[in-house]
Amino acid sequence: MTFIEYQALTPSQKASYKIKEFFSLLPGRFKSFFAAIGKFFKNLGLKFVGGCKGYGSRFTKGDFATKLSYIVMGFGNFTRGQVGKGLAFLAAEILYISYLAGFGLKWFNKFDTLGTELTHQVIDEVTGRPKSVMGDNSMLILLYGTLTILLTLVFIAVYIANTKAAYEAEQSVKAGKKNLTLKEELQEFLDGKYHVTMLSLPVLLISVFTILPLVFMILIAFTNYDKQHTPPGQLFTWVGLDTFRDVFKVTEGASKGYTFWELTKWTVVWAIFATFSNYIIGMIIALMINKKSIKFKSLWRTLFVITIAVPQFVSLLLMNQILQDDGVVNVIRGYMGLAPISFFNSTALVARVTVIIINMWVGVPYTILQTTGILMNIPEDLYESARIDGATPVVQFFQITLPYMIFVTTPYLIQSFVGNINNFNVIYLLTGGGPSKNPNLYQAGETDLLVTWLFKLTMNSNDYNTAAAVGILVFIVCATLSLITFNMSKSSRNEEEFS
């Protein structure tokens, strides 16, 4: 069904069509999502097996220089006119080995236990005063151990590439072709292999400063790194899935499990309200500003957009102050003879509604900016025919504008939905998670999202492993959601696999 055909339906038909479509597509989407993941790992496995096969056969077929490249990396290229390339491979080998010998190995050796020797103090016999005897630091072992493993994987890839390059160089010499010189190869990086040039620096930065810490964090979820096992004074070690069991276990009274479910519910409610309230209100304001007969368009837009320019933590701390029990809002209510409202400290409902409204103050200007251009692109004839049918502006909005916009901006909506699930600033700076009125919540208040709870678990109660586990769970939800919708959206509909 095209969009125009869809428009011809009555509202109830539209709704039922949408719902039917949603549910009929859902199983398929999940299926293809997991199929894609499965395929991804299958391909990875195949590539690995293929790589190993090639590795062996190249060794048996290759000549002496190629064979020697299996030990002295780059030798094959070096002897066949590719001096630069050969030296680069050799340098990689030397660097890796010296890293292992000088740093990596000693951390990696303790990776299985994460350390056994406790730091403690002894009394110095001569001075009669205490001094420290340093033991193992589980956290550093885990971090540098992970680093070593990742570097080893990279090195293996380089090593395989080295054997391949040596073999290929040999083959091309045999075939009488001249190998590319270093200069020519470098030039190739500006054209044919330009993606390598463009991606290598960002990928390197992301690998070191995003992926490595992330892997470290994911591993933490499988240890007992909590307030009772804090380095450097204590050791922690592997505990398997215990932490996840804790997060899912709901017991009577206060528990992590209960808190997790309660906060999950609120996080979802929050994300839905926060996303759609911003989206709809922002769009309505954008429409009003852009109505042809309205003057001072840039003035109106500036009024709203100026709040974006003020750093968010400032405007949120400001809002927190303004909405205090004795803040300026309640002062004004006092002038008008109204009783003060305790926005953040009365009931959960009041606080939750307050944060959703304040979030609109923060988020609506973004929607105005982001939708203005698209709104102007809605085909005018759609409105034309609606007007002839006598549709009021409100009807037009819900029957034409909103469906069209949702149709076009699904990726953006999903992005902001995920953004709201992880909206740390608004909750942390505005309410700090309060009010705390539910005594069964473990280290959390009524407006805490999973993400702020996670922060509190790390900073206040030092439950690092629980925090990591919660982080992983939140991530899985967000990632699944956005991968499905992104890969279903029109921009990439025809290539639905991972590789």
């Binding site: 001569v126 205490p130 420290s132 804090t230 450097p232 009274g253 005594p439 473990y442 206040n460």
Partner: protein
């Protein structure tokens, strides 16, 4: 310096290096080399018998750390005390100049944060740092503090109040030097609104505020303040279970506790519902400035601003009593101490110990009481005129005798107890007996993470 001393030191250092390297792992190098050796340590008299006061009989209080060049130390203290701290550190270097060249860098770092910073990275942290005593357990567990032993231990025990020493003690061992004795909160009031007599009871205070159409401000949603509701009713914290981390509570009489909670609830949530201003403690002084608050519960760090806001009308008293079924019960609060600790990873343990001892000593506490109005933990200073003549300091030192020590408080304590406080003063409904019982149960289980 004299030659025999140097020779002794070198000989000892060599001897020690052998023993230390045998037992010491990765960090052996720096700490053994700097430990050097005392001049008369070889004969084993005063240094080997740790009970002798070190400063007097030992010729080199730094145990030879000064022999190998400049000793560089870093000290953390709160930003507002920088000037005095710097002065005191200069005085210390001056005192030590015969034994070594001690250079001290003073870096501003609030006491609330310093423990977190030390735990994040002990290596770059200060050698000597001030911290709030509620963090001592965490620090000791992480092995971040050098134990106080021997002569230093005796000195700390004999010169400071028993409570402050208890605040520096974990599992029977002392780990830090008490620095102040005023880290808590009391009743602060406007004398033109609340009379000294009225300030003795909570009912009187609230009535006076209500009569003057002013507010009574307190932070009932913050576990640090709201714990007074449970402490007053007899439910107090009592260190940890055997695991060293799960908060233990004292035995309590449920009826008394429930009655106390209901008494608080009746006053704050029903009778004086509109008089209570529940929110951050900044509202107390703000309210004094704008004339909207008559009294409040506020901490010692805001005493100076309260005095500035109210002038001669500034009144300070111990927390008032509350009427529980006809008995005037004194309110019990939580009391903390600021401590000075020595980083266990310092390269100069002996000099750091000397410095911590000096900064926490009588002379420095006296100076801080005079210049900064900090209440002392030192018993001699507590008896001095400067404290006696200050109503705020007198009141807070008196309150310390009727309080629960803010040490061995689990990190899981604060949030649930804040909820506990909110539920008691909840403006929508006074607490019923059943609700009180449920609340007690759920709060305890939440704090204990059960």
């Amino acid at each position: 310096m004299n030659k025999t001393k140097r020779f002794c030191a070198i000989a000892l250092a060599a001897m020690m290096a052998v023993t230390a390297f045998a037992g010491c792992g990765s960090d052996g190098g720096s700490s053994t080399a700097s430990n050097g050796g005392g001049s008369n340590g070889g004969s084993g008299d005063s240094a080997a018998t740790p009970t002798a006061p070190v400063g007097d009989t030992v010729a080199d209080p730094l145990y030879g750390e000064g022999e190998n060049g400049t000793i560089k130390l870093k000290v953390w203290g709160p930003p507002e005390a920088q000037d005095i701290l710097k002065k005191q550190c200069v005085a210390f270097s001056e005192k030590m100049k015969d034994y070594g060249d001690v250079q001290i860098e003073v870096v501003p770092q609030g006491e609330a944060d310093s423990a977190t910073q030390v735990l994040t990275d002990a290596e770059t942290a200060a050698d000597v740092f001030g911290f709030a005593c509620n963090n001592i357990n965490k620090l000791v567990k992480a092995g971040a503090l050098l134990e106080v032993t021997g002569a230093e231990k005796d000195l700390v025990e004999s010169s400071n109040s028993a409570e402050s020493v208890a605040a520096a003690t974990v599992d029977g061992k002392i780990y830090a030097y008490p620095e102040t004795g005023d880290n808590s909160y009391i009743l602060v009031y406007d004398k033109s609104v609340v009379s000294d007599e009225q300030a003795k009871t909570l009912e009187g205070t609230l009535e006076a505020c209500k009569a003057a159409n002013k507010k009574f401000a307190m932070d009932a949603g913050n576990g640090y303040y709201s714990c007074m509701f449970m402490f007053t009713g007899g439910l107090k914290i009592d260190g940890y279970d055997d695991d060293g981390e799960t908060q233990k509570f004292t035995d309590y009489d449920e009826a008394t506790l429930v009655n106390t909670m209901m008494a608080f609830s009746k006053l704050l949530a029903v009778d004086y519902k509109d008089t209570l201003l529940n929110g951050e403690t900044t509202k107390v002084v703000d309210g004094f400035k704008s004339g909207t608050v008559g009294a409040g519960i506020d901490g010692s760090w805001n005493f100076a601003s309260a005095k500035e806001a109210l002038g001669d009308n500034a009144g300070f008293a111990i927390l008032p009593t509350i009427d529980v079924n006809g008995t005037a019960t004194p309110i019990v609060n939580m009391f903390g101490y600021k401590l000075i600790g020595v980083n266990s990873q310092t390269a100069y343990p002996n000099t750091s110990i000397e410095l911590a001892k000096y900064l926490a000593g009588e002379e420095c506490q006296q100076e801080r009481a005079e210049k900064l109005n900090w209440g002392p933990s030192n018993t001699t200073v507590a008896e001095s005129d400067i404290v006696k003549n200050d109503q705020a300091l007198t009141a807070i030192l008196e309150q310390s005798k009727n309080s629960v020590l803010q040490v061995s408080v689990a990190d899981t304590f604060w949030t649930p107890v804040g909820t506990f406080g909110n539920m008691i003063v909840d403006a929508d409904k006074p607490l019923t007996e059943d609700a009180a019982k449920d609340l007690i149960k759920s709060t305890i289980s939440n704090v204990r993470d059960e």
